[in-house]
């Protein structure tokens, strides 16, 4: 069971959250075409390692959080609000 440190509410159990998928993809512009939207909706990296993902604190503050989580160890390296980006150091380590 993940314990997610919500920046607004503090550390909370995973059951209070809804997983909302990969936070590294961004919605294409309206004229980007079908291929770009197919990639946005369906294509995912499924990494073994660090993964930037959306979690909605639906049973708490209802804010959307961004988590950098390790898909094997479940370690959470960074938590931010929807607008924030993970620190570049971690970003490099992910790649």
């Amino acid at each position: 069971m993940l314990r997610i440190p919500c920046p607004w509410c503090g550390e909370r159990d995973e059951i209070e959250f809804r997983y909302r998928g990969d936070a590294a993809v961004t919605r294409p512009g309206s004229d980007a075409g079908q291929e770009a939207f197919v990639a946005y909706v369906y294509r995912r990296e499924n990494p073994l390692g660090w993964h930037l993902e959306w979690w909605l604190h639906s049973g708490g503050c209802r804010r959307l959080l961004k988590l950098l989580r390790h898909t094997v160890s479940h370690e959470i390296q960074w938590v931010g609000t929807a607008e924030q980006a993970p620190p570049p150091a971690q970003g490099a380590e992910r790649a």
């Binding site: 069971m1 314990r3 159990d13 909302r20 919605r27 309206s30 369906y42 639906s58 959307l64 160890s73």
Partner: protein, 979 residues
């Protein structure tokens, strides 16, 4: 003393309190404090069950919950509980237990023929043997195998057993698992540092291995007393940690004693969810067996168990036991028995010499070094052992019991679940697992440090490190009495298998032999996980605790690689069987899920409504206790002919406010809302980003920057989440606030040709004329004196108004509606009538908005706006979603108006009756049209309107000729809603 084998006073038993119990119909006597196993041993009973596959006689192997063989059914007031380890069932007055897996009786089991047929029943035999014919598996083979194999029988009254369990949550700084010398020391140190400590011990008493050593008695008593005086330390005996779930979360099962059950109203188990910042694993190292022919004969047991029965219960497991060991700890039981007057027949040690051998010889015991047991004499019970001596000579030694110790394997399961890799330790011939420091520490025997004092010293170091990490450095000096010194010990020497004739078991519960492991290897199942699944080794309730590593070693030898390369199969939760009742806790019966009641639920109840559960909601289905369609149709008829009122408070309601509210709605809805005037409502459809229809509903504009959005009942939570996600992740620049106001507002639909007269009575001086308040108008209004909102929207297809009022004052408004409608013949109508009305009109619900349909499929493609971005716009235009042969919404009516329709009826042509073209999604008897009407999803449906198809329902054995019609079966011009 109760029983011929009770030779001493046990630590846990009270010789003054006799307890009578029944086993297989015989009444026997034990003592208070006994387990079922110790009481049976005290009575000289040894045969406790038959094995899983070969139906071989089996006795007691261990003295703890890891018992592989002595499983019994316990019959109590809560029914029959199968597969209870006799080694963990506490004796209580009148306890009734029966042996398992024998037919007709334990002594004479006819299915023991399987043992003789053993060479035809190797591992995996039923995958190969029972292949054909295919139908026979379900009807013949499986029932037969299930009767022959399997363990106890499950029966009893679930209702009685389901309630008495609970789930509790505990938090701590450190969870200490295991309360032996290491766990007690760690808990004392962490506790005196002021940390919050949970100490979980699966045994019913604290002490672990120190319970077997009289020299530790005063140390243990002192430690327990000190722990009890620390308010920040909680001891949880009889609590097994079942698994580690990451981020400091653990599951544990506490089994309550009979006294506690009485105190907590029959509560049997407590499932504990433990959350701790760090864990200290001091869970010891279970003893393992050695594979030699006949290592399952009743009377063969682990040496530690023989020791435990003497110390804990004063029971001698035999009059003349033999010991077969490869380590010094295995001698302890023999020495203790000798001190109590039971001389071992011999101690057979696989090593050339040992410190413990010298001590045993001093005590007058015969020790045969560099020797091994190559067979057991006796089938029903041990009569002697065949010993292979170093010079190659074989010698038979009479004995009535054989205590075996093949070494100790550190309990690594929890550490592995926390991500620790296994590491082979040649010095102890076992694997250890080093816990990641962020999770905690292992200490003592759990990481291969044997000897009670050495383990305690190790735990002290680990606990000091944890305390420092948690910024609560422990005080200098010991918070406990000095530890008794460990005796000098010679290291273990690996010994896994002794070759010989006959079956040698590595998994006693699942009847897996060394030959089965080798067969798995020959058949290509060389990986330890494949071998496990092919042979079922380690998949029984004891999880291969005593034989798992032995099986790995046999596999390593068969593959010709070192054991370190083979490893052990991955341990997964649960560590011991968990009753479903414990997992359910209190969430049973009416507490299974939350129940949402409508704001005026009490009125509906008083009116005699029949309720239906939709999602979490309880909704009035029909205001009648009678079954059948007539009460439903009477309600629907009132709406079509006069007026009715229904409670639509379950609709999702989301308040959308902010300068960018209109722009946000333009993005999330496929149609446009920025063009909506204040004081007007509009029907909207929402797509998913993949282009499929997601939800629909009416949204009203209450102010320039204020909208009220409604969703379907089923999707209300999902739509809110969808909106929140897109607002925060995709359109964060928009200044919009979303508020779920579903529970704050009650909403009632007044529908029917007389609706205007009824609402006019309530709406004060609001002008309801078509000119002032047309179809799709919305306004703040005082309704029966209560400030609320009035919408002119319709789901029924009739002239209709929806009245929204704060949930608190809702009953008064509902009653005012009924009073005003009285002269017009108003009736309340339920969900069934609501459905009848919407089906006649061709309005869709979740039956049609099923996630596989597009706007075009449901005939609302014209609503998609032509310009501007919105969710789903691009992918809705994929060619595959535009095909005209897709399932499209149509109406269906039986050609013979006297026939009925059924949901799920498949639509076919008479030429191809098994090729489904679609299916009926919703249907109802009609009040305005003759006979039944329905909605269906039909391939290329719109082009088939006007044609006929067959509706087949194989489960009902029905075939009906159907007319395919427009889904708008009633008032297609929409004149009534504008009346």
């Amino acid at each position: 003393m109760s029983g011929p084998s009770r030779i001493a006073r046990g630590l846990l038993t009270d010789p003054a309190k006799a307890v009578s119990f029944r086993f297989d119909g015989r009444t026997l006597q034990g003592l208070a404090g006994d387990t079922l196993a110790s009481a049976l041993l005290a009575n000289g009973r040894r045969l406790l069950g038959r094995s899983f596959k070969y139906h071989r006689r089996r006795g007691i192997v261990t003295a703890d919950k890891g018992e592989p063989c002595a499983l019994v059914d316990v019959i109590g007031e809560a029914g029959r509980e199968p597969n209870q380890p006799a080694t963990a069932v506490l004796l209580s007055e009148g306890l009734h237990a029966v042996s398992q897996n024998r037919w007709p009786t334990l002594a004479l089991d006819l299915l023991a023929v399987n043992d003789w047929l053993g060479r035809f029943l190797p591992a995996g035999f039923y995958y190969k043997t029972f292949m054909a014919p295919g139908w026979a598996w379900e009807r013949v083979y499986e029932p037969l195998i299930r009767r022959a194999a399997g363990l106890g029988r499950l029966e009893g009254r679930l209702g009685d057993h389901a309630a008495p369990a609970e789930i509790v949550h505990d938090h701590a700084d450190v969870l200490v698992v295991g309360a032996g010398s290491a766990g007690l020391t760690a808990a004392l140190l962490l506790g005196s540092a002021g940390l919050r400590v949970l100490l979980a011990e699966q045994d019913i008493v604290l002490g672990g291995g120190t319970l077997l050593d009289a020299r530790w008695t005063s140390w243990r008593a002192d430690a327990c007393a000190r722990l009890a005086s620390l308010p920040n330390v909680r001891c949880l005996p009889a609590t097994t940690v079942l698994g580690a779930y990451g981020h400091g979360t653990f599951g544990a099962l506490e089994t309550l004693t009979a006294q506690e059950r009485a105190r907590f109203r029959g509560l049997r188990e407590r499932l504990r969810v433990l959350r701790a910042r760090r864990v200290l694993l001091a869970c010891g190292a279970p003893e393992r067996l050695i594979a030699f022919p006949g290592n399952d004969v009743p009377g063969v047991m682990l040496a530690g168990a023989a020791h435990a029965y003497l110390r804990r219960y004063g029971v001698a497991v035999g009059r003349r036991p033999a010991f077969f060991v490869n380590n010094d700890e295995g001698y302890a039981g023999a020495l203790a028995l000798a001190a109590a007057g039971i001389r071992a027949a011999a101690i057979i040690d696989a090593r050339p010499d040992a410190c413990a051998a010298a001590r045993a010889r001093e005590a007058g015991l015969e020790v045969l070094c560099d020797a091994s047991v190559s067979g057991v004499l006796g089938r029903r019970s041990v009569r002697g052992v065949r010993v292979m001596l170093p010079d190659g000579v074989s010698r038979s030694i009479p004995a009535d019991c054989l205590a075996v110790s093949g070494g100790h394997s550190p309990a690594t399961a929890l550490a592995c679940q926390l991500g620790a890799p296994l590491r082979w330790q040649e010095a102890i011939a076992a694997f250890t697992a080093d816990l990641p420091a962020a999770a905690g520490r292992s200490a003592g025997a759990a990481r291969g440090i044997f000897g009670a004092a050495a383990a305690a010293r190790d735990a002290e170091h680990a606990a000091r490190a944890l305390a420092a990490e948690l910024a609560r450095p422990a005080p200098e000096g010991a918070a406990w009495l000095p530890w008794p010194a460990d005796p000098a010990a010679t290291p273990v020497r690996a010994l896994w298998e002794v070759p010989g004739r006959g079956k040698a078991f590595v998994d006693l519960q699942n009847d897996v032999t060394t030959e089965d492991v080798r067969l798995a290897c020959r058949e290509g199942y060389e990986h330890v996980e494949h071998m496990k699944r092919f042979t079922t080794c380690g998949m029984a309730t004891d999880q291969g605790r005593s034989g798992g590593l032995v099986a790995s070693a046999v596999l390593a030898a068969a593959r010709g690689v070192p054991l370190s390369q083979v490893g052990q199969s991955r341990p997964r939760p649960f560590a011991e069987p968990v009753p479903f009742a414990a997992l359910a806790g209190g969430e049973v019966g009416s507490h299974y899920k939350p129940r949402r009641r409508l704001p005026i639920n009490d009125w509906h109840e008083r009116a005699g409504a029949t309720f239906v559960s939709t999602g979490l909601w309880l909704r009035p289905l029909v205001y009648s206790a009678e079954s059948g369609w007539e009460p439903v149709l009477a309600e629907a008829r009132a709406v079509r002919r006069a007026v009715g009122v229904t409670d639509v408070s379950t609709l999702g309601k989301i308040d959308v406010q902010g300068p960018d509210a209109a722009r946000f709605l333009d993005f999330v809805y496929a149609n446009s809302f920025s063009t909506l005037a204040v004081g007007r409502a509009r029907y909207g459809i929402m797509l998913r980003e993949d282009g499929m229809l997601f939800d629909d509903g009416t949204t009203a504009r209450l102010g320039p920057e204020h909208f009220l959005l409604t969703t379907t009942t089923a999707n209300s939570a999902a739509v809110l989440e969808h909106l929140e996600f897109h607002l925060q992740a995709v359109r964060p620049q928009l200044d919009v606030v979303l508020t779920d106001v579903c529970d704050q507002w009650a909403q009632f639909a007044v529908a029917g040709p007389r609706a205007r007269e009824v609402v006019a009575c309530l709406a004060g001086d609001l002008d309801l004329s078509n000119h002032a308040f047309p179809f799709m108008a919305a306004a703040e209004a005082s309704l029966a004196g209560i400030p609320g909102r009035l919408f002119r929207i319709s789901f029924s297809g009739e002239l209709a108004y929806e009245l929204a009022v704060p949930a608190r004052g809702a009953t008064a408004v509902w009653e005012a509606i009924l009073a005003a409608g009285g002269p017009h013949g108003i009736r309340p109508y339920g969900l069934d009538a609501l459905n009848t009305l919407r089906i006649e009109k061709g309005h869709v619900t979740t039956a049609e908005l099923n996630g596989n349909t597009t706007a075009a499929d449901l005939g609302c493609a014209h609503l998609l706006k032509k310009s501007g971005d919105f969710i789903g716009r691009t992918l809705a235009a994929r060619p595959g979603l535009l095909g005209t042969d897709r399932l499209q919404l149509v109406g269906v009516r039986p050609a013979d108006r006297s026939r009925r329709l059924r949901n799920g009826t498949q639509l076919v042509t008479s030429a191809a009756r098994s090729a489904s073209l679609g299916y009926v999604t919703s249907c109802t008897p009609s009040v305005e049209l003759e006979g039944w009407v329905g909605l269906a999803l039909l391939a290329g449906g719109r082009q088939r309107i006007g044609s006929r198809l067959l509706g087949v329902s194989p489960v009902h054995g029905e075939t009906t000729e159907l007319e395919i019609v427009s889904p708008h079966m009633l008032d297609p011009e929409n004149a009534r809603v504008r009346a």
